[in-house]
Amino acid sequence: MNTGGDNPAFKFPPVLVRVCRAYQHVINFAGIFLIAAIAIVAGLQVYFRYVVGASLYWSEELMRYMMVWAAFLLAGTAYSRGEMLGFTLLIDLLPPRLKWLALLIGRLVIIAFLAVVVWYGIDFAWRTRQDTATALQISMLGVHGSVAVGSILMILHVTAVQLTGEQEPHTPGEGL
Protein backbone atom coordinates (compact mmCIF):
# COMPACT_ATOMS: atom_id res chain seq x y z
CA MET A 1 0.00 0.00 0.00
CA ASN A 2 1.15 3.53 -0.74
CA THR A 3 2.16 5.20 2.48
CA GLY A 4 3.29 8.54 1.13
CA GLY A 5 6.95 7.73 1.69
CA ASP A 6 8.20 9.73 -1.27
CA ASN A 7 5.34 12.17 -1.39
CA PRO A 8 5.80 15.43 0.48
CA ALA A 9 2.13 16.37 0.08
CA PHE A 10 0.92 13.99 2.73
CA LYS A 11 2.74 11.58 4.98
CA PHE A 12 1.27 8.88 7.12
CA PRO A 13 2.45 8.94 10.75
CA PRO A 14 5.34 6.49 11.25
CA VAL A 15 3.24 3.98 13.17
CA LEU A 16 0.75 3.82 10.35
CA VAL A 17 3.53 3.45 7.79
CA ARG A 18 4.78 0.41 9.69
CA VAL A 19 1.27 -1.03 9.88
CA CYS A 20 0.79 -0.50 6.14
CA ARG A 21 4.11 -2.15 5.31
CA ALA A 22 3.35 -5.10 7.55
CA TYR A 23 -0.10 -5.39 5.96
CA GLN A 24 1.36 -5.35 2.45
CA HIS A 25 3.88 -8.04 3.44
CA VAL A 26 1.09 -10.25 4.70
CA ILE A 27 -1.02 -9.70 1.57
CA ASN A 28 1.93 -10.30 -0.75
CA PHE A 29 2.75 -13.49 1.11
CA ALA A 30 -0.86 -14.62 0.86
CA GLY A 31 -0.81 -13.99 -2.89
CA ILE A 32 2.44 -15.88 -3.38
CA PHE A 33 1.26 -18.76 -1.20
CA LEU A 34 -2.17 -19.08 -2.82
CA ILE A 35 -0.90 -19.00 -6.43
CA ALA A 36 1.85 -21.50 -5.59
CA ALA A 37 -0.70 -23.73 -3.85
CA ILE A 38 -3.06 -23.55 -6.85
CA ALA A 39 -0.26 -24.54 -9.23
CA ILE A 40 0.77 -27.45 -6.98
CA VAL A 41 -2.78 -28.73 -6.45
CA ALA A 42 -3.45 -28.40 -10.20
CA GLY A 43 -0.31 -30.45 -10.84
CA LEU A 44 -1.44 -33.07 -8.31
CA GLN A 45 -4.85 -33.25 -9.97
CA VAL A 46 -3.26 -33.96 -13.35
CA TYR A 47 -0.90 -36.48 -11.78
CA PHE A 48 -3.66 -38.38 -9.97
CA ARG A 49 -6.03 -38.40 -12.91
CA TYR A 50 -3.60 -39.37 -15.66
CA VAL A 51 -0.80 -41.22 -13.88
CA VAL A 52 -2.38 -42.80 -10.81
CA GLY A 53 -5.80 -43.15 -12.47
CA ALA A 54 -7.82 -41.99 -9.47
CA SER A 55 -9.19 -38.46 -9.50
CA LEU A 56 -8.92 -36.28 -6.41
CA TYR A 57 -12.41 -35.29 -5.30
CA TRP A 58 -11.38 -32.14 -3.42
CA SER A 59 -8.79 -30.54 -5.70
CA GLU A 60 -11.09 -28.61 -8.04
CA GLU A 61 -13.11 -27.04 -5.26
CA LEU A 62 -10.02 -26.16 -3.24
CA MET A 63 -8.38 -24.47 -6.23
CA ARG A 64 -11.51 -22.46 -7.02
CA TYR A 65 -11.85 -21.19 -3.47
CA MET A 66 -8.14 -20.39 -3.16
CA MET A 67 -8.35 -18.39 -6.39
CA VAL A 68 -11.42 -16.49 -5.21
CA TRP A 69 -9.59 -15.55 -2.01
CA ALA A 70 -6.42 -14.63 -3.91
CA ALA A 71 -8.43 -12.40 -6.25
CA PHE A 72 -10.23 -10.55 -3.45
CA LEU A 73 -7.17 -10.27 -1.17
CA LEU A 74 -4.98 -8.87 -3.95
CA ALA A 75 -7.60 -6.68 -5.66
CA GLY A 76 -6.71 -3.65 -3.52
CA THR A 77 -3.02 -4.15 -4.25
CA ALA A 78 -3.83 -4.36 -7.95
CA TYR A 79 -5.61 -1.01 -7.67
CA SER A 80 -2.64 0.61 -5.91
CA ARG A 81 -0.25 -0.78 -8.50
CA GLY A 82 -2.29 0.76 -11.29
CA GLU A 83 -3.34 -2.59 -12.73
CA MET A 84 -6.98 -1.56 -12.94
CA LEU A 85 -6.99 0.45 -16.10
CA GLY A 86 -9.31 3.31 -16.89
CA PHE A 87 -9.78 5.83 -19.65
CA THR A 88 -7.61 8.69 -18.33
CA LEU A 89 -7.05 10.55 -21.58
CA LEU A 90 -9.66 13.20 -20.90
CA ILE A 91 -8.80 13.97 -17.27
CA ASP A 92 -5.12 14.14 -18.18
CA LEU A 93 -6.02 17.15 -20.34
CA LEU A 94 -7.63 18.97 -17.40
CA PRO A 95 -5.75 21.59 -15.37
CA PRO A 96 -4.24 19.99 -12.23
CA ARG A 97 -6.91 21.28 -9.84
CA LEU A 98 -9.82 20.05 -11.94
CA LYS A 99 -8.06 16.74 -12.48
CA TRP A 100 -7.63 16.40 -8.72
CA LEU A 101 -11.32 17.11 -8.25
CA ALA A 102 -12.35 14.64 -10.96
CA LEU A 103 -10.21 11.91 -9.40
CA LEU A 104 -11.60 12.71 -5.94
CA ILE A 105 -15.20 12.44 -7.13
CA GLY A 106 -14.42 9.20 -8.93
CA ARG A 107 -12.82 7.69 -5.84
CA LEU A 108 -15.64 8.77 -3.54
CA VAL A 109 -18.11 7.03 -5.84
CA ILE A 110 -15.90 3.91 -5.89
CA ILE A 111 -15.80 3.89 -2.09
CA ALA A 112 -19.57 4.31 -1.85
CA PHE A 113 -20.07 1.40 -4.26
CA LEU A 114 -17.63 -0.80 -2.36
CA ALA A 115 -19.36 0.08 0.93
CA VAL A 116 -22.62 -1.26 -0.53
CA VAL A 117 -20.80 -4.43 -1.60
CA VAL A 118 -19.32 -4.81 1.91
CA TRP A 119 -22.74 -4.37 3.54
CA TYR A 120 -24.50 -6.89 1.35
CA GLY A 121 -21.40 -9.05 1.18
CA ILE A 122 -21.55 -9.57 4.95
CA ASP A 123 -25.27 -10.31 4.70
CA PHE A 124 -24.62 -12.80 1.86
CA ALA A 125 -21.83 -14.59 3.73
CA TRP A 126 -23.82 -14.69 7.00
CA ARG A 127 -26.93 -16.14 5.35
CA THR A 128 -24.88 -19.04 4.00
CA ARG A 129 -23.01 -19.81 7.26
CA GLN A 130 -24.95 -23.05 7.75
CA ASP A 131 -24.13 -24.32 4.24
CA THR A 132 -21.03 -26.43 3.82
CA ALA A 133 -18.82 -26.80 0.78
CA THR A 134 -19.53 -30.04 -1.09
CA ALA A 135 -16.07 -31.59 -0.97
CA LEU A 136 -14.16 -29.63 1.64
CA GLN A 137 -16.95 -29.67 4.28
CA ILE A 138 -16.14 -26.16 5.48
CA SER A 139 -18.70 -23.45 6.22
CA MET A 140 -19.51 -21.29 3.21
CA LEU A 141 -19.14 -18.29 5.53
CA GLY A 142 -15.38 -18.67 5.20
CA VAL A 143 -15.64 -18.82 1.41
CA HIS A 144 -18.30 -16.19 0.71
CA GLY A 145 -16.72 -13.85 3.27
CA SER A 146 -13.99 -13.14 0.71
CA VAL A 147 -16.25 -10.67 -1.14
CA ALA A 148 -16.72 -8.42 1.90
CA VAL A 149 -13.09 -8.73 3.06
CA GLY A 150 -11.75 -7.94 -0.40
CA SER A 151 -14.06 -4.94 -0.74
CA ILE A 152 -12.93 -3.56 2.64
CA LEU A 153 -9.31 -3.88 1.52
CA MET A 154 -10.12 -2.13 -1.77
CA ILE A 155 -11.70 0.75 0.18
CA LEU A 156 -8.48 1.05 2.21
CA HIS A 157 -6.32 1.07 -0.93
CA VAL A 158 -8.46 3.65 -2.70
CA THR A 159 -8.35 5.85 0.40
CA ALA A 160 -4.56 5.47 0.68
CA VAL A 161 -4.07 6.40 -2.96
CA GLN A 162 -6.30 9.45 -2.52
CA LEU A 163 -4.43 10.61 0.60
CA THR A 164 -0.93 10.06 -0.70
CA GLY A 165 -1.48 11.44 -4.17
CA GLU A 166 -0.38 9.49 -7.18
CA GLN A 167 -0.93 5.85 -7.84
CA GLU A 168 2.21 3.89 -8.45
CA PRO A 169 2.78 4.11 -12.20
CA HIS A 170 1.51 1.20 -14.23
CA THR A 171 4.39 -1.18 -14.62
CA PRO A 172 4.53 -2.25 -18.24
CA GLY A 173 4.51 -5.89 -19.03
CA GLU A 174 1.37 -6.65 -17.14
CA GLY A 175 -2.28 -6.97 -17.89
CA LEU A 176 -3.54 -8.75 -20.98
Partner: protein, 425 residues
Amino acid sequence: MEALVISFVVLLLLGVPVVFVLGISMLAYFVATDQLQFLLVLPQRMFAGIDEFVLLAIPLFILAGSLMEVGGLTHRLLEFANACVGRFRGGVSLTAIWASFLFGGVSGSAAADAAALGAVLIPEMKRQGYNNDYAAALMGTSSLMAPLIPPSIAMVLYGALSNTSIARLFVAGIVPGVMLAVALTIYAAWVARRRDYPRRKPPTRSEFVRAALAAGPVMILPVIIVVGIRGGVFTPTEAAAVASIYAFLIAAFYYRVLSFASLGRALLNTAVISAAIFMLVAMANIAAFIFSIEQIPERVVNALFSISENPVAVLLMVNVVLLFLGMILDTVGILILTVPALVGIGHVLHMDPVHLGVMVVFNCLIGFVTPPVGLCLFIVAGVGKTTIDKVAWHALPMIAIAIVILLLITFIPQLVLVLPNLIVG
Protein backbone atom coordinates in the same frame (compact mmCIF):
# COMPACT_ATOMS: atom_id res chain seq x y z
CA MET B 1 -31.46 1.67 -18.30
CA GLU B 2 -30.67 5.36 -18.87
CA ALA B 3 -29.11 5.52 -15.39
CA LEU B 4 -26.82 2.66 -16.33
CA VAL B 5 -25.68 4.24 -19.59
CA ILE B 6 -25.26 7.75 -18.18
CA SER B 7 -23.27 6.65 -15.12
CA PHE B 8 -21.19 4.37 -17.34
CA VAL B 9 -20.20 7.19 -19.70
CA VAL B 10 -19.67 9.83 -16.99
CA LEU B 11 -17.54 7.57 -14.79
CA LEU B 12 -15.52 6.34 -17.75
CA LEU B 13 -14.72 9.92 -18.74
CA LEU B 14 -13.81 10.72 -15.11
CA GLY B 15 -10.99 8.20 -15.42
CA VAL B 16 -12.54 5.66 -13.01
CA PRO B 17 -11.02 2.20 -13.62
CA VAL B 18 -13.26 0.17 -15.95
CA VAL B 19 -13.85 -2.50 -13.29
CA PHE B 20 -15.53 0.05 -10.99
CA VAL B 21 -17.29 1.79 -13.88
CA LEU B 22 -19.02 -1.52 -14.52
CA GLY B 23 -19.88 -2.19 -10.88
CA ILE B 24 -21.14 1.32 -10.14
CA SER B 25 -23.32 1.57 -13.24
CA MET B 26 -24.94 -1.74 -12.33
CA LEU B 27 -25.63 -0.38 -8.83
CA ALA B 28 -27.02 2.80 -10.41
CA TYR B 29 -29.37 0.64 -12.48
CA PHE B 30 -30.76 -1.16 -9.41
CA VAL B 31 -31.23 2.14 -7.55
CA ALA B 32 -32.81 3.99 -10.49
CA THR B 33 -35.23 1.17 -11.28
CA ASP B 34 -36.08 0.84 -7.58
CA GLN B 35 -35.04 -2.80 -7.43
CA LEU B 36 -33.16 -2.59 -4.13
CA GLN B 37 -34.15 -6.17 -3.34
CA PHE B 38 -31.56 -7.17 -5.93
CA LEU B 39 -28.63 -5.57 -4.07
CA LEU B 40 -27.92 -8.87 -2.37
CA VAL B 41 -27.30 -10.11 -5.88
CA LEU B 42 -24.15 -7.94 -6.14
CA PRO B 43 -21.83 -10.00 -3.88
CA GLN B 44 -23.54 -13.24 -4.90
CA ARG B 45 -23.00 -12.66 -8.64
CA MET B 46 -19.45 -11.36 -8.07
CA PHE B 47 -18.57 -14.53 -6.20
CA ALA B 48 -20.27 -16.86 -8.66
CA GLY B 49 -18.63 -15.08 -11.60
CA ILE B 50 -15.10 -15.94 -10.52
CA ASP B 51 -15.85 -19.27 -8.83
CA GLU B 52 -15.31 -21.06 -12.16
CA PHE B 53 -12.85 -23.86 -12.75
CA VAL B 54 -12.04 -22.87 -16.34
CA LEU B 55 -10.91 -19.38 -15.22
CA LEU B 56 -8.08 -20.97 -13.23
CA ALA B 57 -6.33 -21.33 -16.57
CA ILE B 58 -5.73 -17.57 -16.51
CA PRO B 59 -3.44 -17.35 -13.43
CA LEU B 60 -1.71 -20.59 -14.44
CA PHE B 61 -0.91 -19.34 -17.96
CA ILE B 62 0.23 -15.98 -16.55
CA LEU B 63 2.44 -17.90 -14.12
CA ALA B 64 3.97 -19.98 -16.91
CA GLY B 65 4.80 -16.79 -18.82
CA SER B 66 6.23 -15.03 -15.75
CA LEU B 67 8.38 -18.02 -14.85
CA MET B 68 9.76 -18.24 -18.38
CA GLU B 69 10.51 -14.54 -18.26
CA VAL B 70 12.40 -14.59 -14.95
CA GLY B 71 14.03 -17.74 -16.35
CA GLY B 72 15.77 -15.57 -18.96
CA LEU B 73 13.84 -16.86 -21.95
CA THR B 74 13.46 -13.45 -23.58
CA HIS B 75 17.14 -13.36 -24.34
CA ARG B 76 17.22 -16.92 -25.66
CA LEU B 77 14.21 -16.49 -27.92
CA LEU B 78 15.78 -13.32 -29.27
CA GLU B 79 19.06 -15.05 -30.03
CA PHE B 80 17.25 -17.81 -31.87
CA ALA B 81 15.07 -15.42 -33.90
CA ASN B 82 18.19 -13.46 -34.73
CA ALA B 83 19.99 -16.61 -35.88
CA CYS B 84 17.07 -17.32 -38.22
CA VAL B 85 16.29 -13.94 -39.78
CA GLY B 86 19.13 -11.60 -38.71
CA ARG B 87 21.03 -12.21 -41.95
CA PHE B 88 18.42 -10.51 -44.15
CA ARG B 89 18.26 -6.79 -44.82
CA GLY B 90 16.66 -5.09 -41.83
CA GLY B 91 17.62 -8.18 -39.82
CA VAL B 92 16.96 -6.79 -36.37
CA SER B 93 13.47 -5.58 -37.31
CA LEU B 94 12.64 -9.06 -38.63
CA THR B 95 14.07 -10.45 -35.40
CA ALA B 96 11.62 -8.24 -33.49
CA ILE B 97 8.68 -9.72 -35.42
CA TRP B 98 9.68 -13.37 -35.09
CA ALA B 99 10.86 -13.10 -31.50
CA SER B 100 7.39 -11.72 -30.74
CA PHE B 101 5.90 -14.68 -32.54
CA LEU B 102 7.95 -17.12 -30.46
CA PHE B 103 7.30 -15.18 -27.26
CA GLY B 104 3.56 -15.52 -27.95
CA GLY B 105 3.93 -19.27 -27.51
CA VAL B 106 4.92 -18.73 -23.91
CA SER B 107 3.00 -15.70 -22.85
CA GLY B 108 -0.64 -15.07 -23.63
CA SER B 109 -0.24 -11.34 -23.18
CA ALA B 110 0.56 -8.67 -25.77
CA ALA B 111 1.56 -6.16 -23.11
CA ALA B 112 4.11 -8.55 -21.61
CA ASP B 113 5.51 -9.20 -25.09
CA ALA B 114 5.85 -5.50 -25.93
CA ALA B 115 7.52 -4.68 -22.63
CA ALA B 116 9.93 -7.62 -22.45
CA LEU B 117 11.12 -7.57 -26.07
CA GLY B 118 10.79 -3.82 -26.56
CA ALA B 119 13.20 -3.13 -23.73
CA VAL B 120 15.93 -5.00 -25.63
CA LEU B 121 15.01 -4.52 -29.28
CA ILE B 122 13.99 -0.86 -29.51
CA PRO B 123 17.38 0.41 -28.20
CA GLU B 124 19.14 -2.13 -30.42
CA MET B 125 17.27 -1.00 -33.57
CA LYS B 126 18.07 2.61 -32.67
CA ARG B 127 21.74 1.71 -32.26
CA GLN B 128 21.74 0.22 -35.75
CA GLY B 129 20.40 3.45 -37.20
CA TYR B 130 16.68 2.69 -37.31
CA ASN B 131 14.14 5.44 -36.87
CA ASN B 132 13.26 5.19 -33.17
CA ASP B 133 9.52 5.77 -33.64
CA TYR B 134 9.38 3.19 -36.42
CA ALA B 135 11.18 0.70 -34.17
CA ALA B 136 8.70 1.30 -31.35
CA ALA B 137 5.70 1.02 -33.70
CA LEU B 138 6.97 -2.25 -35.17
CA MET B 139 7.55 -3.70 -31.69
CA GLY B 140 4.07 -2.65 -30.56
CA THR B 141 2.32 -4.14 -33.59
CA SER B 142 4.37 -7.35 -33.42
CA SER B 143 3.26 -7.87 -29.83
CA LEU B 144 -0.31 -8.43 -31.09
CA MET B 145 0.73 -11.94 -32.07
CA ALA B 146 1.14 -13.01 -28.43
CA PRO B 147 -2.59 -13.49 -27.74
CA LEU B 148 -3.08 -15.25 -31.09
CA ILE B 149 -0.46 -17.95 -30.58
CA PRO B 150 -1.51 -20.38 -27.83
CA PRO B 151 -1.69 -19.93 -24.90
CA SER B 152 -3.88 -16.86 -24.90
CA ILE B 153 -5.56 -15.21 -21.95
CA ALA B 154 -8.00 -13.36 -24.21
CA MET B 155 -9.10 -16.66 -25.80
CA VAL B 156 -9.59 -18.30 -22.37
CA LEU B 157 -11.77 -15.38 -21.38
CA TYR B 158 -13.77 -15.41 -24.60
CA GLY B 159 -14.24 -19.16 -24.28
CA ALA B 160 -15.36 -18.85 -20.66
CA LEU B 161 -17.77 -15.98 -21.37
CA SER B 162 -19.33 -17.58 -24.45
CA ASN B 163 -19.08 -21.31 -23.62
CA THR B 164 -16.87 -21.98 -26.61
CA SER B 165 -14.20 -24.69 -26.75
CA ILE B 166 -10.96 -23.09 -25.57
CA ALA B 167 -8.91 -25.83 -27.22
CA ARG B 168 -10.40 -24.97 -30.62
CA LEU B 169 -10.02 -21.23 -30.00
CA PHE B 170 -6.34 -21.68 -29.14
CA VAL B 171 -5.59 -23.62 -32.31
CA ALA B 172 -7.74 -21.30 -34.42
CA GLY B 173 -5.58 -18.30 -33.47
CA ILE B 174 -2.45 -19.79 -35.05
CA VAL B 175 -3.21 -19.09 -38.74
CA PRO B 176 -4.16 -15.42 -38.16
CA GLY B 177 -1.02 -15.09 -36.01
CA VAL B 178 1.18 -16.49 -38.78
CA MET B 179 -0.57 -14.25 -41.34
CA LEU B 180 0.19 -11.20 -39.22
CA ALA B 181 3.83 -12.26 -38.78
CA VAL B 182 4.32 -12.83 -42.51
CA ALA B 183 2.57 -9.60 -43.52
CA LEU B 184 4.62 -7.56 -41.04
CA THR B 185 7.79 -9.29 -42.26
CA ILE B 186 7.05 -8.29 -45.86
CA TYR B 187 6.35 -4.70 -44.79
CA ALA B 188 9.47 -4.47 -42.58
CA ALA B 189 11.65 -5.96 -45.34
CA TRP B 190 10.27 -3.40 -47.80
CA VAL B 191 10.95 -0.53 -45.39
CA ALA B 192 14.45 -1.89 -44.71
CA ARG B 193 15.24 -1.96 -48.45
CA ARG B 194 14.03 1.58 -48.97
CA ARG B 195 15.93 2.96 -45.99
CA ASP B 196 18.91 0.67 -46.46
CA TYR B 197 18.87 -0.75 -42.93
CA PRO B 198 21.78 -3.03 -42.07
CA ARG B 199 21.90 -6.82 -42.04
CA ARG B 200 23.92 -9.10 -39.80
CA LYS B 201 26.36 -11.68 -41.01
CA PRO B 202 24.77 -15.13 -41.02
CA PRO B 203 25.52 -17.31 -38.00
CA THR B 204 27.85 -20.29 -38.35
CA ARG B 205 26.29 -23.70 -38.15
CA SER B 206 27.45 -24.21 -34.55
CA GLU B 207 26.16 -20.79 -33.50
CA PHE B 208 22.80 -21.65 -35.01
CA VAL B 209 22.65 -25.01 -33.26
CA ARG B 210 23.60 -23.42 -29.96
CA ALA B 211 20.83 -20.79 -30.30
CA ALA B 212 18.29 -23.45 -31.25
CA LEU B 213 19.21 -25.66 -28.29
CA ALA B 214 19.02 -22.77 -25.86
CA ALA B 215 15.59 -21.72 -27.11
CA GLY B 216 14.26 -25.25 -27.80
CA PRO B 217 12.67 -26.03 -24.43
CA VAL B 218 10.83 -22.72 -24.52
CA MET B 219 9.39 -23.38 -27.95
CA ILE B 220 8.11 -26.81 -26.88
CA LEU B 221 5.69 -25.19 -24.42
CA PRO B 222 2.96 -24.22 -26.93
CA VAL B 223 3.25 -27.70 -28.45
CA ILE B 224 2.63 -29.24 -25.02
CA ILE B 225 -0.40 -27.02 -24.55
CA VAL B 226 -1.93 -27.76 -27.93
CA VAL B 227 -1.17 -31.46 -27.84
CA GLY B 228 -2.33 -31.62 -24.22
CA ILE B 229 -5.76 -30.17 -24.75
CA ARG B 230 -6.23 -31.72 -28.16
CA GLY B 231 -9.33 -33.87 -28.20
CA GLY B 232 -9.90 -33.09 -24.52
CA VAL B 233 -6.99 -35.04 -23.01
CA PHE B 234 -6.48 -32.14 -20.61
CA THR B 235 -8.91 -29.43 -19.71
CA PRO B 236 -7.52 -25.95 -20.48
CA THR B 237 -6.93 -25.48 -16.75
CA GLU B 238 -4.94 -28.70 -16.53
CA ALA B 239 -2.95 -27.76 -19.62
CA ALA B 240 -2.17 -24.44 -17.97
CA ALA B 241 -1.05 -26.28 -14.83
CA VAL B 242 1.25 -28.52 -16.86
CA ALA B 243 2.58 -25.43 -18.67
CA SER B 244 3.44 -23.63 -15.43
CA ILE B 245 5.05 -26.71 -13.90
CA TYR B 246 7.04 -27.24 -17.10
CA ALA B 247 8.10 -23.57 -17.06
CA PHE B 248 9.18 -23.93 -13.43
CA LEU B 249 11.24 -27.05 -14.14
CA ILE B 250 12.91 -25.48 -17.19
CA ALA B 251 13.77 -22.25 -15.36
CA ALA B 252 14.96 -24.02 -12.22
CA PHE B 253 16.79 -27.05 -13.60
CA TYR B 254 17.57 -26.52 -17.29
CA TYR B 255 18.51 -22.84 -17.33
CA ARG B 256 19.27 -22.85 -13.58
CA VAL B 257 18.47 -19.21 -13.11
CA LEU B 258 15.51 -19.35 -10.78
CA SER B 259 16.13 -17.89 -7.33
CA PHE B 260 13.65 -17.76 -4.47
CA ALA B 261 13.38 -14.01 -4.98
CA SER B 262 12.56 -14.28 -8.67
CA LEU B 263 10.14 -17.16 -8.02
CA GLY B 264 8.38 -15.01 -5.42
CA ARG B 265 8.26 -12.09 -7.85
CA ALA B 266 6.73 -14.25 -10.58
CA LEU B 267 4.09 -15.62 -8.17
CA LEU B 268 3.22 -12.21 -6.77
CA ASN B 269 2.94 -10.64 -10.22
CA THR B 270 0.66 -13.47 -11.25
CA ALA B 271 -1.54 -12.93 -8.19
CA VAL B 272 -1.85 -9.16 -8.74
CA ILE B 273 -2.54 -9.32 -12.49
CA SER B 274 -5.02 -12.16 -12.01
CA ALA B 275 -6.78 -10.22 -9.24
CA ALA B 276 -7.35 -7.29 -11.62
CA ILE B 277 -8.72 -9.58 -14.35
CA PHE B 278 -10.89 -11.55 -11.90
CA MET B 279 -12.46 -8.38 -10.50
CA LEU B 280 -13.51 -7.46 -14.04
CA VAL B 281 -15.00 -10.91 -14.52
CA ALA B 282 -16.80 -10.55 -11.18
CA MET B 283 -18.40 -7.27 -12.27
CA ALA B 284 -19.17 -8.78 -15.66
CA ASN B 285 -21.33 -11.36 -13.96
CA ILE B 286 -23.49 -8.61 -12.45
CA ALA B 287 -23.69 -7.01 -15.88
CA ALA B 288 -24.76 -10.33 -17.40
CA PHE B 289 -27.62 -10.49 -14.88
CA ILE B 290 -28.89 -7.03 -15.85
CA PHE B 291 -28.32 -7.66 -19.55
CA SER B 292 -30.56 -10.69 -19.32
CA ILE B 293 -33.29 -8.81 -17.40
CA GLU B 294 -33.22 -6.03 -19.96
CA GLN B 295 -32.71 -8.40 -22.91
CA ILE B 296 -29.82 -6.25 -24.12
CA PRO B 297 -28.29 -8.86 -26.45
CA GLU B 298 -31.63 -9.34 -28.24
CA ARG B 299 -32.07 -5.58 -28.55
CA VAL B 300 -28.59 -5.08 -29.96
CA VAL B 301 -29.08 -7.90 -32.44
CA ASN B 302 -32.45 -6.49 -33.53
CA ALA B 303 -31.03 -2.99 -33.86
CA LEU B 304 -28.14 -4.22 -36.01
CA PHE B 305 -30.31 -6.33 -38.25
CA SER B 306 -32.82 -3.51 -38.65
CA ILE B 307 -30.05 -1.46 -40.26
CA SER B 308 -29.16 -4.26 -42.63
CA GLU B 309 -29.83 -7.95 -42.97
CA ASN B 310 -26.89 -8.48 -45.25
CA PRO B 311 -24.39 -10.65 -43.32
CA VAL B 312 -21.42 -8.82 -44.87
CA ALA B 313 -22.79 -5.44 -43.77
CA VAL B 314 -23.59 -6.74 -40.29
CA LEU B 315 -20.10 -8.17 -39.82
CA LEU B 316 -18.55 -4.96 -41.08
CA MET B 317 -20.62 -2.99 -38.58
CA VAL B 318 -19.58 -5.36 -35.79
CA ASN B 319 -15.93 -4.89 -36.73
CA VAL B 320 -16.23 -1.11 -36.84
CA VAL B 321 -17.94 -1.00 -33.43
CA LEU B 322 -15.30 -3.28 -31.91
CA LEU B 323 -12.46 -1.24 -33.43
CA PHE B 324 -14.02 1.88 -31.95
CA LEU B 325 -14.41 0.24 -28.52
CA GLY B 326 -10.80 -0.90 -28.82
CA MET B 327 -9.76 2.73 -28.92
CA ILE B 328 -11.22 3.48 -25.50
CA LEU B 329 -11.48 0.20 -23.56
CA ASP B 330 -9.15 -2.70 -22.90
CA THR B 331 -9.72 -6.22 -24.23
CA VAL B 332 -11.25 -7.68 -21.07
CA GLY B 333 -13.68 -4.78 -20.80
CA ILE B 334 -14.75 -5.10 -24.44
CA LEU B 335 -15.20 -8.86 -24.24
CA ILE B 336 -17.28 -8.54 -21.09
CA LEU B 337 -19.58 -5.90 -22.55
CA THR B 338 -20.01 -7.33 -26.03
CA VAL B 339 -19.80 -11.13 -25.87
CA PRO B 340 -23.49 -11.71 -24.95
CA ALA B 341 -24.68 -9.63 -27.92
CA LEU B 342 -21.99 -11.02 -30.23
CA VAL B 343 -23.02 -14.59 -29.50
CA GLY B 344 -26.55 -13.61 -30.49
CA ILE B 345 -25.33 -12.10 -33.75
CA GLY B 346 -23.20 -15.14 -34.51
CA HIS B 347 -26.21 -17.35 -33.89
CA VAL B 348 -28.40 -15.44 -36.35
CA LEU B 349 -25.63 -15.48 -38.98
CA HIS B 350 -24.94 -19.21 -38.36
CA MET B 351 -21.29 -18.40 -37.66
CA ASP B 352 -19.04 -20.98 -36.08
CA PRO B 353 -18.50 -19.70 -32.50
CA VAL B 354 -14.76 -20.33 -32.86
CA HIS B 355 -14.61 -18.22 -36.01
CA LEU B 356 -16.55 -15.47 -34.27
CA GLY B 357 -14.26 -15.68 -31.22
CA VAL B 358 -11.04 -15.35 -33.19
CA MET B 359 -12.49 -12.45 -35.16
CA VAL B 360 -13.52 -10.66 -31.96
CA VAL B 361 -10.21 -11.27 -30.18
CA PHE B 362 -8.20 -10.16 -33.21
CA ASN B 363 -10.35 -7.05 -33.40
CA CYS B 364 -9.79 -6.24 -29.73
CA LEU B 365 -6.07 -6.73 -30.23
CA ILE B 366 -5.92 -4.01 -32.86
CA GLY B 367 -7.14 -1.71 -30.08
CA PHE B 368 -3.80 -2.30 -28.34
CA VAL B 369 -2.02 -0.22 -30.99
CA THR B 370 -4.67 2.35 -31.89
CA PRO B 371 -4.54 5.77 -30.26
CA PRO B 372 -5.64 7.29 -27.97
CA VAL B 373 -5.43 4.52 -25.36
CA GLY B 374 -3.65 1.57 -26.98
CA LEU B 375 -1.88 -0.16 -24.12
CA CYS B 376 0.96 -1.50 -26.26
CA LEU B 377 1.51 1.94 -27.81
CA PHE B 378 1.96 3.33 -24.30
CA ILE B 379 4.44 0.62 -23.43
CA VAL B 380 6.61 0.91 -26.53
CA ALA B 381 6.51 4.71 -26.41
CA GLY B 382 7.70 4.48 -22.80
CA VAL B 383 10.44 1.99 -23.58
CA GLY B 384 11.53 3.91 -26.70
CA LYS B 385 11.46 7.24 -24.81
CA THR B 386 9.22 8.86 -27.39
CA THR B 387 5.59 9.98 -27.56
CA ILE B 388 2.41 8.10 -28.44
CA ASP B 389 1.49 10.34 -31.37
CA LYS B 390 4.87 9.86 -33.06
CA VAL B 391 4.69 6.09 -32.65
CA ALA B 392 1.04 6.02 -33.75
CA TRP B 393 1.97 7.78 -37.00
CA HIS B 394 4.52 5.09 -37.83
CA ALA B 395 2.11 2.38 -36.70
CA LEU B 396 -0.59 3.46 -39.16
CA PRO B 397 0.53 1.31 -42.12
CA MET B 398 0.93 -1.66 -39.76
CA ILE B 399 -2.56 -1.08 -38.32
CA ALA B 400 -3.84 -1.03 -41.90
CA ILE B 401 -2.13 -4.39 -42.48
CA ALA B 402 -3.77 -5.78 -39.34
CA ILE B 403 -7.18 -4.52 -40.47
CA VAL B 404 -6.74 -6.18 -43.87
CA ILE B 405 -6.00 -9.46 -42.09
CA LEU B 406 -9.03 -8.89 -39.86
CA LEU B 407 -11.22 -8.54 -42.96
CA LEU B 408 -9.68 -11.65 -44.50
CA ILE B 409 -10.37 -13.79 -41.42
CA THR B 410 -13.84 -12.29 -41.07
CA PHE B 411 -14.96 -13.17 -44.57
CA ILE B 412 -12.92 -16.34 -45.18
CA PRO B 413 -13.84 -18.51 -42.17
CA GLN B 414 -11.74 -21.40 -43.52
CA LEU B 415 -8.58 -19.44 -42.65
CA VAL B 416 -9.55 -19.64 -38.99
CA LEU B 417 -11.27 -23.02 -38.94
CA VAL B 418 -8.92 -25.17 -41.00
CA LEU B 419 -6.47 -25.90 -38.17
CA PRO B 420 -8.98 -26.58 -35.37
CA ASN B 421 -10.98 -28.85 -37.69
CA LEU B 422 -7.79 -30.67 -38.62
CA ILE B 423 -6.16 -30.93 -35.18
CA VAL B 424 -8.92 -30.78 -32.58
CA GLY B 425 -11.70 -32.22 -34.72
